[in-house]
Each structure stands twice: as structure tokens, then as C-alpha cells.
Assembly symmetry: C2
Homo-oligomer: 233 residues x 2
């Protein structure tokens, strides 16, 4: 017997909020001597390699705020930006706490919340995700993070951890993400999967070539409101 | 320089929700052959000794749902109740996920949320606290639990853990609780403290003798709405 889906677990950066647009806007606002899109791309490019160091044990457990700061220092060097004080760099690093949701996010989540338990499953740390939710009025039932499991996605401990927290089977959890590698890993753990297209995730100059339907996704949605409609909310 | 309070961390069982009244009502609803108030008291009496076994290492990490179930089995034996099926016992154990908030709770928390980040700091597990928040519309910014820190209160790791999550000093966190032992332990870790009177926490037949003002509390409130008023919300 197939058990009902109870929990929707959302990837956050790119799926729920627009990291590229938010960072580019902040670079413009601060008048930094860098192309805003290139700066945003460079900062995000350091993200997976930094987490890989934690996942492989090269670095001890380090939260995303601190990884973001390590990468930011490199990016500022790369662009030869020396104009910021320590306080200003710290403040810039916290832009990840204030990322802007996509236009369909808040309404879509609110609709889904009426039928499902909606949670985050993000590599972002708890303080970051709580600040973001407060800033952007994201109506999570529970904020879950790699920080709870002390493992970064795509480690299985994260996907299976959600099921364990709610004492349900993995098939009763659906991962919602704009990234196919995340969905493949969730599927391998027995979760349901929903892909959300985010054509502008990497900025206005990057055309994503991976928005087609796949066999490993149970749902394929234009955005979170579309997913809510497909799930009968 | 004294830094501003940023985060209010709430004890939950007794402070935010009425465990005694909710359990007694469930015992009545199920027509169990036991005095509802005695049943509620007996279940809760097993709580601290069970956690103490985890804190001392006698038991490995065990979440509250499972500790509640161990105690419930004992309580059902104590009252010679053999009428429940395994499914019914499991369902009864989940009453802790559906506890009723005190009448001032939701409005008080909503007022406090406008000025502070409001979080739980409970020994209840994450799934329990998320279900409770959804059921009772508790507007938490973040649900924190002993389960995140793998330590039960009053271990210092829990109180200091809240400050660490938000990257702030312990004095910028205020514990709000109806239990003085919890507040004493928080104070010892450098947190601010607020006591909330809950004269009916232990049921209608128990008069609490510990509701007087203390030197180790920064605030002393009749209820959560009163605390919101005292904090200018």
C-alpha cells in the first residue's frame, strides 16, 4: 500500500528564494567595483567545493555562514575590492539571511501548508533560515537544516532525517527542489520528488538547459503555486 | 555595554501549553478507568527521571515521544488499564503533539514576535513541537529542541546553543519559563530570564507555592500577554 505524502521538504537557495538576484542587487546597492552578476556567480561557485570539504572530513563541521564568509573573502580578493571594513564585510555576508523569495513563493507555500506539513531541508544554517523566514514571511511549519543532522545534502542522513523527525516512512516525504542532483539523491533514499523550474536562478545571462521533465521526478512544476495546484491545494 | 535582547526562548510544556488540562481532557474523552487528574500527574511525574537517565548516560539519546511512551506503559499498568489496542496507545501517546495553549499564548507570542525573534527551547522533540505549532497556530520564528543539541535541559549546551545558533551573546537571549529550576540554570549560563506564573499548571487541585518574585528573574509576568506589555510590545 502506498502511504500518503505528509511532509513537503523544500530546498531553499534557488528553489524558494532568488539568491542570484538578491546578491546582485546588494552589490549594486553597495556600489562595489564588480559586475553584480559575476560577483553573485563567483560567490555561489565556491559553495559546493566548500561543503565538499566538510562532507569529506577535510574541514570539521562548519556552518554555511562561516563557509560563505571564507568564500566571500576569496571573492573580494578576486575582484580586488579593499574598500570594505570588517563590519561591512560581516554585514555583506549576512545578505544570505535576507534573500528575496520568488514571486510565487509565499502564496504557494501558504496554499501547500493547508494540506501538508511544509519544512525546509536546506544546507543553510538554522539562524540564517530563521532570519530569512522572518524577513520574507515564509510560513514554515518547521525549519530543518543540515545543521540539525550535521550532514550536508546530498548525504542520505539529511533526506532520511526528515522522515525520522516525523516518524514516517521516506515515501511520505517529498523533496521540492530546482536542482536535479538534489532530487536524484532524495529519490535514492525513497523520497517522493517535485522539480520546480527556476529559469532565472543563475541570473539573466544564463539559460538553463536542464528544465525538461525527468523520470525520477514525481511532479514537475513551473513554480510553487503550480505545484500547489497539481497537489490539489 | 549591555547588549540588547534579540531572542526570546520559550519553555513549552506548562509555560506555553496546558499539558495537565489537555491530558486530563483526553483521559475523559477516552473514558479510561482512571481519575483524569491523577493520570495526567502520573504521566508527567515520570518525565524528569526518564530524562535524567539520558542525561546521565544510562539511556542512549532517546527522544521525548519514546520516553513518553515508556512512561505511558508504566502508567497504564499502574491504573490497570488493559482496554487499549497498540494503535490506541500510540494515538494516546501523541496527545503531547496536540496540547492546548493557555488563553493568552497565541496573542502574547504574536505581539512579542513583532519586536523579538521568538523560539522554543523545549525538551520536546522537533516533530512533536512542529505538530503542536501547526495544531495550535503558535507563530514561532524557529523551533529549537533538545533534539537539536542532543542534550536535555538543564544541560548548559541547550541554553548556550540558542545563542550559538543566532551568533549572539548569551545575554542577548531571554529564557521564558514557568519553572524556576529552568530559569536558574539559564541564568547560570548568562541568559536573561522571565518567569511566567502558571497557577493551574499542575491541575485544579494543586496550589503552587512558588509563584513569588525572585532575584534571579529579570522579568516576572502573570502571563505571556503581560510579558509582551512589560517588554513594550
Amino acid at each position: 500500500m502506498i502511504k500518503q505524502t505528509k511532509v513537503l521538504a523544500f530546498d531553499v537557495f534557488g528553489t524558494v528564494v532568488d539568491w542570484h538576484g538578491s546578491i546582485a542587487a546588494e552589490v549594486k546597492r553597495l556600489n562595489l567595483a564588480a559586475d553584480p552578476n559575476e560577483f553573485a556567480t563567483a560567490w555561489r561557485t565556491g559553495y559546493k567545493p566548500a561543503m565538499a570539504k566538510v562532507r569529506s572530513g577535510k574541514l570539521p563541521w562548519t556552518k554555511i555562514d562561516d563557509l560563505h564568509r571564507l568564500i566571500l573573502d576569496d571573492v573580494l580578493n578576486l575582484f580586488n575590492i579593499n574598500s570594505l571594513s570588517e563590519d561591512q564585510i560581516h554585514e555583506l555576508n549576512l545578505i544570505w539571511h535576507r534573500l528575496t523569495p520568488w514571486i510565487d513563493t509565499v502564496k504557494g507555500l501558504s496554499r501547500l501548508k493547508s494540506k501538508f506539513t511544509i519544512v525546509t531541508l536546506s544546507n543553510g544554517n538554522l539562524g540564517l533560515l530563521a532570519d530569512m523566514a522572518k524577513h520574507a514571511s515564509l510560513p514554515w511549519d518547521l525549519i530543518l537544516s543540515a545543521e540539525v543532522f550535521r550532514h550536508y545534502k546530498p548525504d542520505p542522513e539529511t533526506y532520511l532525517g526528515v522522515a525520522n523527525i516525523f516518524d514516517i516512512d521516506p515515501e511520505q516525504v517529498m523533496l521540492v527542489a530546482a536542482h536535479k542532483d538534489d532530487l536524484v539523491s532524495a529519490k535514492a533514499c525513497g523520497l517522493k520528488t517535485a522539480f520546480v523550474e527556476r529559469p532565472l536562478e543563475f541570473g539573466p545571462h544564463v539559460t538553463r538547459g536542464d528544465l525538461q521533465q525527468e523520470t525520477f521526478t514525481d511532479y514537475h512544476a513551473k513554480n510553487i503555486e503550480d505545484l500547489a495546484s497539481q497537489l490539489g491545494c
